[in-house]
């Protein structure tokens, strides 16, 4: 339970009584971190506005680092849940603008109180921080009177063949995706938001990621995943406005309009086995060459794969079980989604193998038509299954963006 009288965590000036004018582009807050113009679009100085029609961190150019956290809501009331979301929105609006989580900052405020910001982001630029909130299916049970608000698209994911899910890495009532080009900034965001939630929501699982594994804008070069292959070459880009509107943003006119659906999958890669695999087999599994990322049917990285081209013995150059073929929209009745995953290495396991893989994140307008059929096709036949294991999973309704007057998820309580 948070004490409303405690200085620093109040969001009353923002979402409560007096409202809007305060925030804007960060004007009106004490400048306790390096503030840069909103127009900055790249590098350490980048600032992405927290407020808007859609939440940031979806079509935003994928930053290099991730801290993703899933929370379980404690035994609190509906009003307290609403307050939590307001407090989170307030702190997120500040941190994404390069400010401290609370109004005093890490080195100021009452001398007998702990600082309202943990401090490790002091002296650091915003580094393109985005904070994206989502609601899991379990939030819509009978605890908060939200069951009638559960969107049909927020399904419980089915069991996919080969799933090796670990309970402690699955689900959650709430999620926060913090992305930044500086890992310390992303961690700072999750740390402070977790702190704000103590007593109201508790961490269920969290994940650090490095090395984005997809591009979300044309200007970005295609990065590589831990298999050493380019990943996300065919990802949709923010510039594909019509496609993004159709495939990423939830339609309709209810509280989710302008939101999206996030599916996360923690995919462990058995990289030791993969690394012992011949280049021939690696390229067969992926369906692209390793150096450039060109489809094996020919061309360069961005050449559209031609699944009909055959080689010796009339065998297709892009194998029937290759990842690129099975994940391709033409194999999935046109289904596609915006991918925004990250590599991870969580130390090593008990067997001395790197606990490494891909923290897969995707956004879509309806997972029933997008993630689920695509993953089913992959789980059945993908040659890559030999080298991956899905150990964590989450699905979250990502509401539309907040405004100066309405916190994240305010539509739930209308």
């Amino acid at each position: 339970m948070v004490d409303d009288a405690k200085p620093g965590l109040s969001r009353r000036g923002l979402f409560g009584l007096t409202g809007a004018a305060v925030v804007g582009a960060g004007v009106g807050f004490g400048v306790d971190r390096v503030l840069t113009p909103e127009a900055s679009s790249s590098g350490a100085a980048a600032v992405y506005p927290f407020f808007g029609e859609h939440q940031a961190g979806i079509v935003t150019p994928a930053q290099d680092r991730l801290h993703f956290a899933s929370f379980d809501v404690s035994d609190i009331s509906r009003d307290e849940l609403k307050e939590l979301l307001e407090d989170w929105s307030y702190a997120a609006s500040r941190m994404t603008a390069g400010q401290s989580a609370g109004e005093f900052g890490p080195a100021d405020g009452p001398y007998d109180s702990p600082p309202d910001d943990t401090g490790e982001a002091l002296d650091l630029p915003p580094a393109g921080l985005t904070i994206t909130f989502g609601f899991g299916p379990s939030l819509f049970d009978d605890r908060f009177g939200l069951s009638s608000k559960r969107p049909a698209a927020l399904i419980d994911l089915p069991h996919f063949p080969g799933d090796a899910l670990v309970d402690a890495l699955v689900g959650g009532d709430l999620c926060i995706q913090a992305c930044s080009d500086d890992p310390q900034i992303a961690v700072h965001a999750i740390r402070n938001l977790s702190r704000i939630a103590f007593g109201r929501a508790k961490l269920r699982w969290s994940q650090l990621g490095f090395g984005r594994t997809s591009s979300t804008t044309r200007a970005q070069v295609t990065p590589r995943n831990l298999f050493g292959f380019k990943d996300g070459t065919a990802n949709m880009r923010a510039e594909d406005t019509a496609l993004v509107n159709k495939e990423v943003w939830a339609g309709g006119s209810d509280w989710m309009a302008g939101g999206s659906y996030l599916v996360s999958r923690k995919i462990r890669m058995t990289i030791e086995t993969w690394d012992r695999t011949s280049l021939r087999e690696q390229e067969r599994v992926i369906g692209r060459n390793k150096g450039e990322g060109a489809p094996l049917s020919g061309g360069t990285e961005f050449t559209e794969p031609d699944f009909s081209i055959t080689g010796r013995g009339d065998a297709p150059l892009i194998d029937e079980e290759s990842h690129v073929r099975l994940a391709h929209p033409t194999t999935n009745a046109g289904a596609t989604m915006l991918r925004r995953g990250y590599n991870f290495v969580d130390g090593n396991d008990d067997l001395g193998r790197l606990n490494a893989g891909l923290f897969f994140i995707c956004f879509q307008s309806d997972p029933r038509e997008q993630f689920v059929p695509i993953q089913l096709s992959l789980a059945r036949n993908d040659a890559m299954n030999e080298y991956v294991r899905h150990v964590g999973s989450g699905i979250f309704a990502v509401p539309p963006g907040a405004t100066e007057n309405r916190a994240i998820g305010a539509g739930l309580f209308d």
Partner: protein, 390 residues
């Protein structure tokens, strides 16, 4: 799990046999390579040089045409293939690495993969002084290895057929004690040739699928479905023992699938690279399923499978070891050592002649030692195919 390496390697098979024509006795990594480029267009096949010193030669073939192309290094008769690289899509680069002996050769590209090819050009390999072993016996050795492995596979599947019939009969008769006793020792015949069995895409899921591999609504058949019924103590709450009808159906299906497997393996041929990849694939099976105790989720008899995978890998390795010694004696020596080390670890868990400690009774340190040794063997073993077909 599906391990399709044997199938994937099929197109390479013919190449491997022929490429053996040029090979050296030293460790190939000791010598410097000569790097050449080849531009394969619709009408030309331009090699950056028409000669190279004997030893390793790397041709980087770039397909600048608009059809799938192939590149060949032909012997001095212009017919016999010394090395080739196939299935190069338009715009794609791919390497052909060979150990070239001194002599006269031809280079030629085959855009469109048909006809005699374009730009057949003389290519000379000068004598750099690298020693080459005699290779007269290699073809015969490969034939012998293939013949031996064919009979091994058939013999294992014959044993599997007989064992499965006994197992199925006991299970149908409700003699669960006997069925439990027969389970692991019978599966050994499957696990020894697992990469071959798994190359039959429909049989593998029908016979060896684990529960986690199912998709919603899919019928579960095969060994592990029966395993759960025989060792239900770890099953989820509410798990009900199978009915007699279900037992009969599962047992009959397993027997008939095994008969199909038997029929399927009668005419198999194994090329050199398939044998090498088979050994690598069996060790991968150990690394992904057995070391982690995931294969025998209910019976915990993973070490039986572990030993059987290693048995199969050793048979494959033994068949091609003589060929390897001529190509890379150091690698052979390393593999001998690592196989022995792994066997020592397995022997320490052996109970009597054929039984093993259950996975759940292994200590963390013992599991870790297995995993470390699988890695120690796996890394050199993964070089096997590349060394043999070079």
């Amino acid at each position: 799990m599906t391990q399709r390496r044997l199938v994937a390697g099929l197109s390479l098979g013919a190449v491997a046999m022929l490429a053996l024509a040029g090979c050296v006795a030293n460790n190939p990594t000791d010598s410097d390579s000569t790097a050449l480029t080849v531009d394969s267009s619709a009408t030309s096949c331009t090699v950056s040089s028409d000669e190279a010193p004997s030893g390793n030669v790397v041709f980087t073939v770039s397909n600048s045409g608009d059809q799938v192309t192939e590149f060949y290094l032909l012997a001095d008769d212009g017919l016999r293939i010394v090395g080739e690289v196939e299935n190069i899509g338009p715009g794609i680069d791919r390497n052909l690495v060979i150990q070239a002996r001194p002599g006269n050769y031809f280079t030629v590209c085959k855009p469109g993969m048909i006809g005699a090819g374009v730009d057949k050009t003389a290519f000379t390999v000068t004598d750099s002084g690298v020693d080459f072993a005699t290779d007269e016996d290699l073809a015969a050795q490969i034939d012998a290895a293939n013949a031996n492995y064919k009979s091994y596979v058939k013999d294992q599947v014959e044993n599997l057929v007989v064992g499965t019939e006994d197992f199925a009969a006991a299970y149908k008769a409700g003699d669960d004690d006997t069925a439990r006793e027969l389970y692991a020792p019978t599966r050994v015949y499957w696990e020894r040739i697992e990469t071959v069995a798994e190359s039959f895409g429909d049989l593998d899921p029908s016979m060896d699928l684990r529960e986690a591999d199912l998709e919603e609504g899919q019928d579960w058949t095969g060994w592990h479905a029966i395993e759960k019924d025989l060792w239900p103590q770890d099953a989820e709450a509410g798990f009900e023992a199978y009915t007699q009808d279900k037992r009969d159906a599962l047992a009959d299906r397993l027997v008939s699938d095994t008969d199909t497997l038997y029929a399927n393996v009668q005419d198999l041929e194994f090329t050199l690279d398939q044998q090498a990849n088979g050994a690598i694939g069996l060790l991968d099976e150990v690394a992904t399923g057995k070391v982690t105790g995931e294969e025998e989720f209910w019976s915990h008899t993973d070490l039986y499978d572990f030993q059987a995978n290693i048995d199969g890998a050793k048979v494959l390795y033994a068949g091609i070891r003589d060929i390897l010694i001529e190509k890379d004696a150091e690698l052979a020596e390393q593999l001998d050592t690592e196989f022995d080390e792994l066997q020592n670890l397995l022997d320490a868990q052996r109970i009597g002649e054929t039984d093993f400690t259950l996975y759940t009774e292994l200590t963390d340190d013992e599991i870790r030692a297995f995993s470390d040794q699988v890695n120690a063997l796996g890394e050199p073993l993964s070089k096997l195919t590349g060394v043999l077909v070079l």
